[in-house]
């Protein structure tokens, strides 16, 4: 190792490829209009503050956050699904031991949240939140129920396609990612301003999970696969011996 302070060795994370991330202002999504900044963002080369980031251990995260279908009171209603995938960086390397958090509506399209006023039933046996750490291959797996679509006020007859929210930290502050996973063949995707906020069609399509026979469990649950990619390093540091 070189300098005592180690300052020259900070290697930043890659910036997004053009079009692959949403602009902050996307007028079809009305909530962005008064909340998106109008001043240009200031480009900041990554420093030690950005190439480090929160680390969470198994003792903190707990081990019972992967099954969203069971409560002490009983089993959640709806179509049981297994959502699994890998967290990878842009070079295809697995991101092991990183925190993945999910939240979603129930099978009727209702969130267990005080401000959700959708006239659909709550399920006493479904909370709709989960969390896990990725395994050594970057893998994660949740057992849940397929969320319902639900109406919102963005425009006339607006409906959100069925989706599961995903939050991932990755190895550094710079790699933080929050996204939404969608389901293949959903007719609501074409008109959803949130799904369509990103210009690049390939990038959008990667938000849609795949139906997965390999994780579909006989007589029990359908499998969906959703891989998540976080920013990679600007340059590959020399591998240490």
């Amino acid at each position: 190792m070189g300098l005592a302070m180690g300052t020259a060795s900070v290697v930043g994370y890659r910036r997004p490829r053009p079009g692959t991330q949403p602009e902050h202002l996307h007028p079809p999504y009305l909530s962005s209009v008064k909340r998106a900044p109008r001043q240009p963002l200031v480009r900041l080369p990554h420093t030690l503050s950005e190439v480090t980031g929160p680390v969470f251990g198994a003792d903190f995260v707990g081990s019972n956050g992967q099954d969203l279908t069971h409560q002490p009171s009983g089993e959640a209603l709806g179509e049981r699904i297994i959502v699994s995938g890998q967290v990878l960086d842009e070079d295809g390397r697995p991101v092991a031991g990183t925190l993945v958090e999910v939240w979603q509506a129930n099978a009727a399209g209702r969130y267990r949240h005080e401000i959700d006023q959708h006239r659909a039933p709550l399920d006493p046996n479904f909370v709709g939140s989960g969390r896990t750490l990725t395994d050594t291959r970057g893998g994660y797996r949740f057992l849940t129920i397929r969320p319902g679509a639900y109406p919102w006020k963005n425009h006339a007859n607006a409906w959100r396609p069925a989706h599961i929210h995903f939050s991932v930290f990755g190895p550094a502050f710079a790699t933080r990612l929050v996204t939404q996973m969608y389901f293949p063949g959903d007719p609501l995707l074409d008109t959803d301003p949130i799904f369509n906020c990103t210009a690049d069609e390939t990038a959008r399509r990667r938000l849609v999970s795949f139906f997965d026979w390999s994780t579909t469990t006989p007589d029990y649950a359908l499998g969906y696969r959703f891989d998540i990619v976080v920013s990679g390093r600007e340059a590959t540091p020399l591998e240490a011996g």
Binding site: M1, L3, A4, M5, T7, V10, R15, P16, R17, Q21, P22, E23, H24, Y29, S31, S32, V33, K34, A36, P37, R38, Q39, L41, V42, R43, L44, T47, S49, T52, G53, P54, F56, E90, G92, V102, W103, A105, R112, H113, I115, V127, G128, S129, R131, H165, A172, T175, R176, L177, V178, Q180, I194, F195, C197, T198, R204, R206, L207, I228, V230
Partner: protein, 187 residues
């Protein structure tokens, strides 16, 4: 095989369901060294209205200027029990409040030290991606030569510096849009 990073999507209005388990404004554990500081503020939109559904995530070094992360190889002590991150949500008036220790200086790419700072992600309904900003401390001479502050137009730098309201109390607001708009960094 290289694929670009997954597209961001907004956290939406219901994120507390999945994220609040970690939310807290707790004091750092008693054994953690360093001066305690309580930071309060509001998140406001382009009409000056409170944003009641925002979430801040903070990341900082400990009082010695050491991050609890393997890539911080500085010869400085870690503080057991101090992870360096907090999650704090806003209330109906857009207010947030958290208590932490004031971080020490950490190295900058130019070989100098960065002034003490906390890096912050702002997440909310209406934000399709997070916004990234920093909190600096008042009465710090190092602010004048700080690596990140120096990249910002001088009239806007003050949006990144908290205001002192008491011996250990600071105020720092997040103005998402409009007059006094907070400086956000490109990520």
């Amino acid at each position: 095989m290289s694929r670009p990073a997954t597209t961001w999507q907004t956290v939406g209005p219901f994120f507390a369901l999945g994220l609040r388990w970690m939310q807290g404004d707790d004091l750092p554990a008693p054994g953690v060294s360093g001066p305690r500081v309580t930071i309060t503020g509001r998140v406001l939109d382009g009409d000056g209205l409170p944003v009641p559904d925002a979430l801040l995530e903070t990341w900082q070094a400990n009082a010695h200027g050491k991050y609890a992360h393997a890539e911080d190889t500085q010869d400085k002590p870690l503080e057991p029990g101090f992870r360096g991150c907090l999650r704090v949500g806003t209330d109906a008036e857009g207010r947030f409040r958290f208590t932490t220790v004031k971080p020490g200086p950490v190295p900058a790419p130019d070989g100098r030290s960065q002034a003490p700072h906390i890096v912050v992600s702002v997440l909310a309904r209406g934000l399709l991606r997070r916004l990234v900003t920093r909190i600096y401390f008042p009465d710090e001479s190092a602010n004048a030569t700080d690596f990140a502050l120096s990249l910002v137009d001088p009239p806007r730098r003050e949006t990144l510096v908290a205001r002192r309201t008491g011996p250990s109390d600071l105020v720092w607001n997040v103005i998402l849009q409009g007059p006094g708009e907070t400086v956000f960094f490109d990520f």
